[in-house]
């Protein structure tokens, strides 16, 4: 979970820990179920240590993280502004897979085509799940949009894997 | 110059690309031009047969009949009036006087009356009949006038009897001095001076026979003596012949000579010709209409394809003018080829019709293919093909390039009423009706073709119905050449019309099947059996054919009435008409099923794949 996401959620107004969690859940839809609750609080602690966030204990409430009220510091606000202006895209891990195939072929450890096929199958299964989830969402929900993005990316990845398969088939026949 | 070459090359390549369609177009125009050629050649032949015969036989300008007053026991002599006539100013030549004897002819089972003319064996200066077969008269050998011989069914070498005496037929000939059988006794042509007095003569006209003078006298009996002498005269001014005949001849008293001018004889001769033209002219018109319909269907048949090609041409820089030129050039090329083929076919067929056996009157020799005839035929072929392709060419030139390339043939218009109605009908009618609704103009063309065909057939039936009454009063046994000739002409015209109609039906069905190939493939993919689909395409032809056929009945009767100036028109019996209509519809259904069935055999996946490609 990007730290900046949690920061941005506090930009509007200070909130309780549990409110943050709920807002995240709502935005992520079904994907939010898989989210580790503890992750949010770990992030909040880190942010506090870094001085981007302050926390206050509401009077009379027990000392639990979900009851604390968190707010942005000035540095935190700056950070949020900067993050919003960034254009980097979440990185896909193409390089790792690519290297995996080359290493396998070079060392004779496994058939690259088998690796590609296995990966393809896995991605197809994920595509199926994502698609199912997307279709279960009502009309134009925000979560539905997110799932659509996942589906389209998986599609693109699958296309690349098909290209890998073609490429490695030729390589094998010419080697 | 380069543009012409380009246009020519594009057109030629187009034709090579689609040979089947080009061949069909060729056939349609060839059939029509063949009929036209035949008609024109025969017209030339039959229009002035008299002039030709006159020239070939040194025909007389005036024919004088000098009656003989009988003196029993005495050998009859030419009356003295003959010499006087010969010496009349204005007369430059003569032949005769020849004795005329009435004779009863028996040839096999047939009997007929004839006028026998005694002649010299050597050639006469005026009116030497031209032999169409055999040799000239000699003792024991007679020559029959050609049409008479045909009617009797005798030819050179046959044996006949004249007034009981046996003779051999030495030959047959034509003459300009008398109208041919059966118009020999036509008054304008001089009438019959001699005829057998036997009461058993069947009515229907006398024939003309030449024999040697001694033979002529030998068949004269007390009942049938030498009745008159015929004198053939040539004038300095042939145009003045009627005046001459009026002045010196009279038909009042039996003793006075009666005369006929060559103009009168020509008119009598023409009676036969008029009839033929009455048959040929309407026939040729009907044939031309059918040919135009065929060409129109063919030209419109592949319109979608052509529109796309034109779009391509335009996209690569061809002007609208160029594209229309290519289209016209293509069809012009085919029309010229077809005209040539039709000319050849018609010219080859003409002698078959004018051969002696066919009994066409008056002319020796084959019809000639003159330049004017060729010119007319080619012009008609060109006009027919232009007329039919002008509209598509125009439309194609005006289509915007983009829409042409998009290869959208004119999208079928929606006819909700027909679609709703067709849903309640069995599957073939459902498909057929919807096909008709898609292309109403082609349905109209189909209806028109059927109407034209049935018009022709009904006109022929009306002829038979009317003539059937006439012939019952005519010579029994003896042929009537007028009617025979008409029947022959009608047969030819009917055959041609039916051939063209068959082409038409096949073309229309082919065009429909082609146009509907995507739709019919789709419908087959959805579960229609191929037989249902081909039945549907046949139904698409039958639905417009029915009103067309019904319309043809009154039109056919009207056409016959118009052509038959003589007036009496007998409406053919209802059973004949019903047979004609049903026969035509059946033929349409069967013919339509041929291209339909061929199209239905193509695998569906091929068509759908080609469409989606």
């Amino acid at each position: 979970m990007q730290q900046e996401v949690v920061l941005a959620l506090l930009a509007k107004e200070p909130s309780h820990g549990y409110e943050l969690r709920a807002r995240l859940r709502q935005a992520l839809g079904p994907l939010g179920e898989a989210m580790n609750d503890g992750q949010v609080y770990v992030t909040l602690t880190r942010l506090e240590k870094a001085g981007l966030v302050t926390s206050e204990q509401a009077a009379g409430s027990p000392d639990r993280q979900d009851r604390k009220v968190y707010a942005l510091t000035a540095a935190g606000q700056e950070r949020v502004a900067g993050w919003l202006a960034e254009v980097s895209w979440p990185k896909p891990d193409l390089a790792e897979f690519h290297l995996k195939l080359i290493a396998a072929a070079a060392a004779g450890l496994a058939d690259p085509l088998a690796i590609v096929d296995a990966q393809r199958r896995e991605l197809l299964r994920r595509l199926r799940d994502a698609q199912r989830a997307a279709m279960a969402e009502p009309g134009r929900s925000a979560a539905g949009l997110l799932l659509e993005g996942i589906v389209l990316r998986l599609q693109a990845d699958l296309r690349w894997l098909e290209a890998c398969e073609r490429n490695w088939t030729v390589r094998r026949s010419t080697s | 110059m380069g543009k012409i070459v380009l246009v020519g090359r594009l057109a030629a390549r187009d034709v090579r690309h689609r040979p089947a369609q080009a061949v069909l177009l060729l056939l349609a125009i060839t059939a029509a031009t063949a009929v036209l050629t035949l008609g024109l050649a025969l017209h030339g032949v039959t229009s002035h047969p008299y002039q030709r015969t006159r020239a070939a036989t040194s025909g007389p300008d005036v024919v004088a009949y000098l009656p003989v007053l009988h003196q029993p026991g005495h050998r009859s002599q030419p009356p003295s009036g003959a010499t006087a006539l010969i010496r009349t100013p204005g007369v430059t030549g003569h032949s005769g006087p020849y004795p005329l004897v009435g004779a009863l002819v028996r040839a096999g089972k047939l009997t007929a009356g004839a006028e026998a003319e005694g002649r010299e064996e050597s050639a006469a200066a005026v009116d030497q009949p031209k032999l169409t077969s055999g040799t000239w008269v000699h003792p024991g050998g007679v020559v029959l006038e050609r049409t008479f011989a045909d009617a009797l069914g005798v030819g050179t070498g046959d044996r006949i009897t004249l007034n009981g005496r046996p003779f051999m037929v030495a030959g047959t000939a034509v003459t300009a001095a008398n109208p041919p059988y059966p118009n020999l006794c036509y008054t304008g042509g001089g009438g019959c001076a001699a005829g057998p007095q036997d009461g058993n003569i069947p009515p229907g006209g006398l024939g003309l026979i030449w024999l040697t003078e001694p033979d002529a006298r030998s068949i004269a009996t007390s009942a049938d003596p030498v009745a008159a002498y015929v004198l053939n005269l040539k004038l300095t001014n042939p145009a003045a012949a009627p005046a001459f005949a009026a002045r010196y001849g009279s038909s009042d008293s039996p003793a006075a000579p009666s005369m006929a001018s060559w103009q009168g004889i020509a008119a009598a001769d023409g009676l036969l010709v008029q009839d033929e033209q009455q048959v040929l002219a309407p026939g040729a018109w009907l044939a031309a209409l059918l040919a135009i319909a065929s060409v129109a269907v063919l030209a419109g048949g592949r319109m979608a394809e052509r529109t796309r090609r034109i779009g391509l041409l335009k996209a690569v820089g061809g002007t609208p003018g160029l594209t229309s030129l290519v289209l016209l050039a293509e069809n012009l090329l085919l029309a010229l080829l077809a005209a040539g083929a039709g000319l050849a076919a018609g010219w080859l067929a003409a002698p078959l019709i004018t051969s002696p056996g066919a009994g066409l009157v008056g002319t020796p020799g084959a019809p000639s293919l003159t330049l004017p005839i060729a010119g007319e035929v080619v012009t008609v072929a060109v006009v027919v093909s232009l007329a039919a392709t002008l509209v598509p060419a125009f439309r194609a030139a005006r289509t915007s390039t983009v829409s042409a390339l998009a290869n959208a043939p004119r999208p079928p218009r929606r006819r909700s009423a027909l679609i709703g109605l067709s849903a309640r009908l069995p599957v073939p009618l459902l498909l057929g009706l919807r096909l008709v609704a898609r292309r109403p103009r082609r349905a109209l063309l189909g209806a028109a073709s059927v109407a034209v065909t049935v018009t022709g057939i009904v006109a022929v039936l009306a002829f038979h119905a009317t003539v059937g009454l006439r012939t019952s009063g005519a010579a029994r046994g003896l042929g009537n050449p007028i009617i025979e000739r008409d029947v022959q002409m009608l047969q030819i015209v009917t055959v041609v019309l039916i051939t063209l109609a068959v082409f038409n039906a096949v073309f229309t069905a082919w065009a429909t099947a082609l146009d509907a190939s995507r739709a019919s493939a789709l419908v087959r993919a959805l579960g229609a059996a191929p037989r249902q689909v081909s039945a549907g395409i046949s139904a698409a032809q039958l639905v417009p054919a029915l009103p067309g056929a019904l319309l043809g009945i009154p039109l056919g009767i009207g056409l016959f009435a118009a052509a038959n100036h003589a007036g009496i028109v007998t409406v053919p019996p209802a059973s004949w008409l019903a047979a004609a209509v049903l026969g035509t519809l059946l033929a349409v259904a069967v013919l339509a099923s041929i291209p339909a069935r061929i199209g239905a055999r193509r695998p569906v996946s091929e068509i759908l794949r080609a469409d989606a490609a």
């Binding site: - | 929606r414 959805l526 695998p603």
Partner: protein, 248 residues
């Protein structure tokens, strides 16, 4: 047409389809065997030109194989004549094409009712069934629209409704989303999912992985032969959150 219940709905053994002769011989389908159980969705994936469409045409009786045999509900297609095949296409098989292939001059409901009319049902019964199917695919309000007035996705849905008119044993779809944008694809995907839930047997040919992912079984095809097979039922090893960049 009632299914036999037992055994695969669709079976093929050693299917071959060749075009041309000698050097120009093309083996579009070169020895394909397939079993499709009732209610299953099978997707055949492969690059263009691999013979997927030809295979589908062979399975549905639109084309005759050069070799091999196809059985539908236990009956061999090879024994059927043209009329039998036509009846098959009416009752047992529904086709969905990439190019939709709707009649341009008929409204949506008229397009859908056409197979029923061809099967000999009365105009009223056919119309009723067509209207019902259009409602099923969510286009009841567009029943009287001409295809030209419908979007791509709507047209394909009409085509799918048409394929269902005869209550077929199996629906064969040839690149059903090939001509559609992603939103229209989603519409069609939803429809296929609902058909699948209702127990309709589907065989889909596609090179779109989205469609393929809806299948129970995914078969890869290349150069006229099947090269692999994947069962897509069952969970995935990863979770969706990780796909979105959420660390789990």
């Amino acid at each position: 047409m009632t299914s036999t219940g037992e055994g695969p709905v669709l079976r093929a053994r050693g299917l071959r389809r060749e075009y041309g002769k000698g050097e120009a011989l093309v083996r579009a389908v070169d020895g394909v065997s397939l079993d499709v159980a009732a209610g299953e969705t099978v997707a055949v994936m492969g690059p263009s030109g691999c013979g997927k469409s030809t295979l589908l045409h062979l399975l549905g009786g639109l084309d005759r194989p050069t070799g091999g045999e196809v059985w539908l509900a236990g009956r061999s297609l090879g024994r059927l004549g043209e009329r039998g095949l036509a009846r098959l296409r009416r009752d047992a098989v529904g086709f969905v094409f990439q190019a939709f292939h709707l009649m341009d001059e008929l409204t949506a409901v008229e397009n859908v009712e056409l197979p029923a009319l061809l099967a000999g049902r009365s105009a009223r019964a056919a119309r009723r069934r067509a209207a019902g199917l259009l409602e099923r695919v969510g286009l009841a309000d567009r029943a009287r629209f001409l295809p030209a007035a419908l979007s791509g996705g709507q047209r394909q849905r009409v085509a799918i409704a048409r394929a269902l008119v005869g209550d077929p044993l199996v629906v064969l779809a040839d690149e059903p989303t090939g001509n559609l944008d992603s939103e229209a694809t989603l519409e069609v995907l939803r429809l296929f999912e609902s058909l699948h839930t209702a127990g309709q047997t589907l065989v889909i040919v596609t090179h779109d992985s989205r469609i393929a992912a809806t299948a129970d079984r995914l078969i890869g095809m290349r150069d006229g032969v099947f090269v692999d097979e994947t069962r897509l039922t069952g969970g995935t090893t990863g979770n969706l959150g990780a796909l979105a960049g959420l660390e789990g």
